[in-house]
Each structure stands twice: as structure tokens, then as C-alpha cells.
């Protein structure tokens, strides 16, 4: 509700500016306007646009970080960094394809998990029956204000071989895995229960980007599952706030009216709440999607890509190639391919989630 109130006057203010301004007064006003936005524009250009263009330039160089990339000392190699990444068979491409596979699963489960959990949390703290709602709102938001380093270290202890998670599992007779050391994909594990241990020939022989389809279809590894759990837990508090704002925008009268019409809780949720929350859901999915593709800090602290590279992510490769191997051009190229992936997926997701008017 608040957003509509603030939007109207600002919309009105734009109108006179749109008209071609000729009087000195208006020109002055416009100049003042520019003066006011100048700091923001300068900050954006200096700290956002300029670095992006510089990074694009670096991605075309064979630069080892030992000189200024603009001094001409680094060799210009055109698109060969991108070639090594996407087409030439080698360690770099196989690492990158593995990281894309890992991240696809990470994104899939993380985004789904975050949306479901944060929506449920928002519903819970929005409901009128819950006592001490503001207390729970604070509690649920807590992980979001905790440093991701602290959370990662905490999870490292939780998921140790003899950690809390496995102790709890042992109470119900489950012999938990050594989470961060288990490289098996969960899909492969499930398939092995049904006697499918090796890849069917069709899947093993067909490759995509140098990685067999059987490898693409491994599912997230056990270690990655622990990372996903961490990520969902840490980020759902923030997204809960987005949903909460949306939920509070739903007029109580509507809910009451549907209740009087005899709709049950599920039908109210399905046909009233969800449609009205479309915008919030699209927003949360977009934001979660972008941040999931860029996952880095948890990997950096917890696993460094281990076990068996099943937690390798493009952002981590970009870092290791740059600072580990001194191949900053390759690192920048990875970042740009990642950028492209995110843009494409976000556009697809916006298109799927667009409002259809009939």
C-alpha cells in the first residue's frame, strides 16, 4: 500500500520536465537536478561501468597480473580465453563444465528451497494467530545479518563426520555420510539403490561440453547438499521480508470475503494469496537466481571445490585461475560467461513469470 502512495506524486512531478524546457527557470532546475544525481552517477560510472569495461578488456588478454593491464605489456589474445573455456578440450573446460553442472543443481535446489522456506516463514509471521510475531520475525532474520563466514564455519562443525547432524541421524538409526567428503551425486546414489551402478551406454557415450550426460545427471553431491542447506538457511530470512511486505499488501477484506464465500484455507492460499503474490515471487526468484549463480564464499571457506570438484563453482574457478594460476584473462572470461548465463536465465525467468493479460 505504501508504495502506491509514494509513487503518485513522483509520477506527477516528471510531467513538466518531459515538456521541452525553454525558460531559464526550468533549465536551471534541470541543472540542479543533474547536480543532485551527479554523485550517484559518478559513483556508478567509476565503480561499476568502468571496472566492467576494464574486466572485459582483461578477458581478452594473456595477463598474469604482474603489470598494469593497460600498459600494453600483456599480450592481446582475442577470444582465445573464451575458446579454452568453452570449446578446447582440456582441464579448464572440464573444470568449467563441472562447475556449471554443480551450479545448475545448486541453483535449482537453492532457489526452490529459498522460495518455499521463506514463503512459509512469511506466512507464519504474518498470521494473526501467532503470538510474539515480531519476536519470530527477528529470529528468522537473524541468519541474514550474521556473517556468511561465521555461518560457514558453524556448518563445517555441524556436518563433520562426528558432527551434530550425524549424531542426530544416528539416533534414528541412520549412518550419516561424511558430508563434506562425499563426492557421490545423490541421483547416482538413488539409482544405485535400484541396481544402476554404471552409466547406461547411451548416457556414458554422449557428451556435452566434454562431460558425459551421465555426469551431467549426477545430481548435487552429498557435499553440495550440505552447501545448499546452508545457503537456504542463511538467505531465507532476507527473502522472508520481501514476501512479508507482499503479504501485508493483500487487503484483509479480500481474505474475509473469500472466507465468507466458503473457500477453505488451501483454496484461499492457492487462488487468492499466490496470484496476488506473483510480483513478490518473481522478484525473489530473480534475486535468488542471481545470487545462487554467483555462489563463492561458502565454497571458498568450506570446501574449495572438494570433494572430487563437486562443489566447484564458476565464481570459485574465476578466483583460483586468477590468483592461483596467475591467469587473470581466463578468470575474467569465466566471469563474463557467468554474467551471460545469469542474464539469459534471468530473461527467460522474467518471460516465464510475466503477467499475462487476457
Amino acid at each position: 500500500m505504501t508504495s502506491t502512495v509514494t509513487r503518485e506524486p513522483s509520477a506527477g512531478r516528471i510531467k513538466p520536465v518531459r515538456r521541452r524546457a525553454t525558460s531559464g527557470h526550468l533549465r536551471q532546475e534541470r541543472r540542479a537536478g543533474w547536480l543532485f544525481v551527479a554523485p550517484a552517477v559518478i559513483v556508478l560510472v567509476v565503480f561499476l561501468f568502468a571496472p566492467i569495461i576494464m574486466a572485459a578488456w582483461v578477458s581478452l588478454l594473456d595477463w598474469n597480473g604482474q603489470s598494469s593491464p593497460f600498459s600494453g605489456e600483456a599480450e592481446f589474445v582475442g577470444l582465445s580465453n573464451y575458446q579454452a573455456l568453452l570449446t578446447d578440450a582440456g582441464l579448464l573446460r572440464s573444470d568449467f563444465m563441472l562447475s556449471v553442472r554443480n551450479t545448475v543443481y545448486f541453483v535449482l535446489f537453492n532457489v526452490t528451497g529459498v522460495v518455499v522456506v521463506s514463503f512459509a516463514l512469511a506466512m507464519a509471521v504474518n498470521s494473526y494467530v501467532l503470538r510474539g510475531r515480531s519476536f519470530f520475525r527477528t529470529i528468522f532474520y537473524f541468519p541474514a545479518i550474521t556473517s556468511s563466514v561465521a555461518i560457514s564455519v558453524l556448518f563445517l562443525f555441524l556436518f563433520q563426520g562426528a558432527g551434530v547432524v550425524n549424531v542426530v541421524l544416528s539416533w534414528v538409526g541412520i549412518d550419516g555420510p561424511t558430508w563434506f567428503r562425499d563426492p557421490r551425486g545423490v541421483l547416482h546414489i538413488v539409482l544405485s539403490w535400484f541396481g544402476v551402478d554404471a552409466a547406461p551406454a547411451a548416457l556414458a557415450d554422449t557428451t556435452m561440453g566434454g562431460l558425459s550426460l551421465w555426469e551431467w545427471l549426477s545430481g548435487p553431491s552429498v557435499a553440495m547438499c550440505a552447501l545448499i542447506t546452508l545457503s537456504i538457511w542463511a538467505s531465507s530470512g532476507t527473502f522472508m521480508l520481501f514476501f512479508l511486505v507482499g503479504l501485508q499488501d493483500i487487503p484483509v477484506e479480500l481474505e474475509e470475503a473469500t472466507a465468507i464465500d466458503g473457500a477453505g484455507a488451501w483454496r484461499r492460499f492457492r487462488h487468492l494469496t499466490v496470484p496476488l503474490m506473483r510480483r513478490s515471487i518473481v522478484l525473489v526468484i530473480t534475486l535468488a537466481l542471481i545470487s545462487s549463480w554467483q555462489v563463492f564464499d561458502q565454497v571458498f571457506i568450506l570446501s574449495q571445490g572438494a570433494p572430487a570438484k563437486t562443489t566447484l563453482t564458476p565464481a570459485y574457478i574465476s578466483y583460483v585461475r586468477s590468483f592461483g594460476d596467475g591467469q587473470f584473462g581466463v578468470g575474467a572470461a569465466v566471469a563474463f560467461v557467468l554474467f551471460a548465463i545469469i542474464i539469459v536465465l534471468t530473461l527467460v525467468q522474467r518471460w516465464v513469470g510475466r503477467e499475462r493479460r487476457t
Binding site: 543533474w34 551527479a38 603489470s67 582441464l91 561424511t178 572430487a308 590468483f323 596467475g326
Partner: protein, 422 residues
């Protein structure tokens, strides 16, 4: 709104302003350098020095700071010691920005990258009594027959043994393993329920030490050829795999420990392969563990180990190279190395200090023995990713999904690709 951005001259003004700010940022370092040079009146005059170290902790930082202060008093040149949060990254930023620290730690695996790019000032011929420094350590920092920097410390892998477990298994000092068969036998004797005989970090360093003892290694002496896929290395990996399959050897992560020292300290293994850094870790985290370190048992290729070292690199861009060389010579002098060894435990890089070291720190003697037969870590740029991949192959070998042949073939292919790029 968008249309206005495009057409007003103010957009241009903003861009100009932004460019000015960028230019100001960029030239900041140069102004600084210029100022220093002017103040001292000469490019190699006695300008102040900055020393950047990757410190293991407070003890190391204080020790280096105190040593630098002693030199500063002697020479009258100001020295600032900066303990880096992330040395690799901060150095890289310094080089890329044209404003590196004057003196800094360089590890062998980074060395060649710096040397190739001409970032380091080669001062090997100015090191006082350089021949006293162990040959393999000097080799680690030699590029195209030129010694670039002075190794500040050095050490090799040793076999660390839990003496209580050793005695409980009915073994005596005379039984300390001399070769691989005895090592395997001892590991078998020490393996009990919940404890493996020998566990070590599952990466390329301890495995590299075994490969050296087996008569092979990742690369040849000059680091110009990849020598991974050889019968010697295959025999080494098969020896490790055989014992891992028997349950007497293990990679630390597979028995729920982050590294060999943790597996050993927590009692999950009775022996481990580590360098001198384990001493401090055991003292701090597992003070009750009784242990002894003995030289690595000899393999089919004789006795050998990986050498670990760092050197004092001097930036080619340094304004006061003469002062920096003087400072480094002071820091690698026998007296200062003794002070460092006493303060935070590094093994001196000078052979003349071997006896002193063995006497002063008998528990660490094994980590300095056999330094002459050691080899340094691979320094080919791009090998970090190659060896990281080898580590993954080793994990697979432990899990039984990768054969030793496959692991070595992958290492050979990837290593050759990295060398070809170099």
C-alpha cells in the same frame, strides 16, 4: 529520464568527472613513488622500505618486526613490516598497480610467475655466503640459471610417530622404518579399530614426497618436462593404494580429519607425514600426544622428500634495491635466523646452522635432515590447477573410482598443457 541521459551535455560532464576521478586514483601510486625518490635524492638511495609478510601469527609478525627494527637502527633506513591478510592477493595488487612492497615472502610455486614477468630483482650474486644455503632451496628460486632471492627458511617432510602407540604395539626405537616395506609393516602393526597406521593429507605434497622416494616426481629437475606418467610413479601410487585398500594407510579427509596433523593429534592415526609446522600445531592443539619425528623411510629410489621454503623477494620496481638487499642479507644472517627459529620455529636455511638446530630443537631435527636430497615444489605457472586436479584424482583413487594409471595419465596431459602455455 533515460532519453535525457543520452542528450544532455551534463552526461558528458559526468563522464569527464568520472575519468578525472579514475585518473586521480591511477596516478596516486606514481605520485607517491615520485615523492619518495625526491625526498631521498636518488633512485637507489636510502628511501624507506616496506616489507610484506604472510605471517603464521603474532609470534612471526613480532619477530620480523623486531629484526627489521634492529636493522633500521643499524642502517638508519626506515622499515615498515606489513603482515598481509592474503599475501598472494595483496602482492598481485601491488604488482598490477605498479606499487609493490620492496621486500616480501615468495613461495616456490609463485616464484616462476614473478620471475618470468620480471617482477623480481635478481640479487642472488649479492647474497652473503650464499653457498651455505642448502642447494635444493637455492634451486627453488633459480630461474634460467640465475638465483633470484635468498631462501629464508627450509624444511622437509618427516615421518611423525605416536610413541605411546608405537610402544603399545610392541615396537622399539630400533624398529623405526627405514624403507617402504618396514613402513607398511609398522602401519599394519599400528592399525587398530578406529585408528589407521599412517594417515596424511590427501594432496600432492605428501604424495609428491612418496613419488620422490619412489624415484619419480611430477616434473623433471629443470621443470621443463612433465614426468608424471612413468613406471616409477605408477609403482608409488600402487604402493599407496595397496596399503590404503588394506586399511593401514589413509588420506586424512577420509578418516574425518582436515589434515595429517589433525588425524595424528586426535589419535585417528598413529603416524603421519608432515613438515615442521606440525610441531606448533601439536603443542597448541594436542599437547598430550607424545611423538617423535624421524626422517622419511627410503623408497625404491632412495631417501628423498619435498622441500618447503620461502624466500625474501625484492621488487624490481623497488626504489631502494640496495637497501633492500642489505636488509635481506641481515635477515638471512645466521644470527637472525637463529632468532627467528627461537621465536616462531622455522628451520634455518643455512647448512652451517644444522648442528645448532639439531641441538636446540631435537624434536625438529628430522624436519631438516636430508635437505640435500630434497626437491622443491613445482613452480610452473598454471600448475596449481593441474595439481588440484591431481588431488581430485587421488581422492578418486582412494575411493576406488580412479585407477593409479588414470590418475597419472590425467596429470601428464594436464601438466603438458600447462607447460605448453608457459
Amino acid at each position: 529520464m533515460m532519453r535525457q541521459f543520452a542528450r544532455t551535455p551534463l552526461a558528458l560532464a559526468a563522464a569527464v568527472a568520472a575519468a578525472t576521478v579514475l585518473a586521480a586514483c591511477g596516478s596516486g601510486f606514481d605520485d607517491d613513488d615520485g615523492g619518495d625518490a625526491e625526498a631521498t635524492g636518488a633512485s637507489d638511495g636510502g628511501g624507506p622500505l616496506t616489507v610484506m609478510i604472510g605471517s603464521s601469527g603474532e609470534a612471526e609478525t613480532v619477530a620480523v618486526q623486531e629484526a627489521a627494527a634492529r636493522w633500521a637502527e643499524e642502517s638508519g633506513t626506515e622499515v615498515e613490516v606489513i603482515p598481509a591478510q592474503d599475501l598472494v592477493q595483496q602482492l598481485q595488487q601491488g604488482f598490477a598497480g605498479g606499487n609493490p612492497p620492496d621486500v616480501f615472502y615468495v613461495s616456490p610455486d609463485r616464484f616462476r610467475m614473478f620471475a618470468e614477468a620480471g617482477s623480481l630483482y635478481p640479487y642472488g650474486d649479492q647474497i652473503e655466503d650464499a653457498d651455505d644455503i642448502y642447494q635444493p632451496l637455492r634451486d627453488a628460486f633459480t630461474y634460467e640459471d640465475e638465483l633470484y632471492c635468498a631462501p629464508k627458511d627450509g624444511g622437509v617432510h618427516a615421518l611423525v610417530i605416536d610413541t605411546d602407540a608405537w610402544a603399545a604395539a610392541g615396537l622399539t626405537e630400533a624398529d623405526y622404518p627405514q624403507d617402504w616395506d618396514q613402513l607398511a609393516a609398522a602401519a599394519q602393526a599400528l592399525t587398530t579399530d578406529g585408528r589407521v597406521g599412517l594417515a596424511f593429507t590427501g594432496d600432492y605434497n605428501p604424495v609428491g614426497t612418496f613419488m620422490l622416494a619412489g624415484g619419480g616426481f611430477f616434473v623433471n629437475e629443470d621443470q621443463t618436462e612433465v614426468t608424471a606418467d612413468t613406471p616409477e610413479n605408477l609403482a608409488t601410487l600402487e604402493y599407496l593404494k595397496q596399503n590404503m585398500d588394506a586399511g593401514t594407510f589413509a588420506f586424512a579427509p577420509n578418516i574425518d580429519a582436515a589434515w595429517g596433523g589433525e588425524a595424528f593429534g586426535s589419535g585417528k592415526s598413529a603416524m603421519t607425514v608432515e613438515g615442521a609446522w606440525i610441531v606448533g600445531a601439536l603443542q597448541n592443539d594436542f599437547p598430550d600426544r607424545n611423538w617423535v619425528a624421524v626422517p622419511m623411510p627410503a623408497g625404491p629410489g632412495g631417501q628423498a622428500s619435498t622441500a618447503f621454503t620461502n624466500c625474501w623477494g625484492i621488487a624490481a620496481d623497488s626504489d631502494n634495491q640496495a637497501g633492500a638487499v642489505d636488509l635481506v642479507n641481515f635477515l638471512v644472517s645466521p644470527e637472525e635466523q637463529q632468532a627467528f627459529a627461537e621465536a616462531f620455529g622455522p628451520t634455518p636455511s643455512r647448512a652451517s646452522l644444522a648442528d645448532w638446530n639439531a641441538e636446540a630443537f631435537p624434536e625438529k631435527a628430522a624436519f631438516a635432515e636430508g635437505m640435500e636430497d630434497s626437491r622443491t615444489q613445482v613452480s610452473v605457472p598454471g600448475f596449481e590447477s593441474v595439481l588440484a586436479d591431481f588431488k581430485t584424482q587421488l581422492e578418486g583413487m582412494a575411493a576406488g573410482t580412479v585407477t593409479p594409471e588414470q590418475a597419472l595419465q590425467a596429470l601428464q596431459t594436464n601438466g603438458e598443457a600447462a607447460l605448453a602455455q608457459d
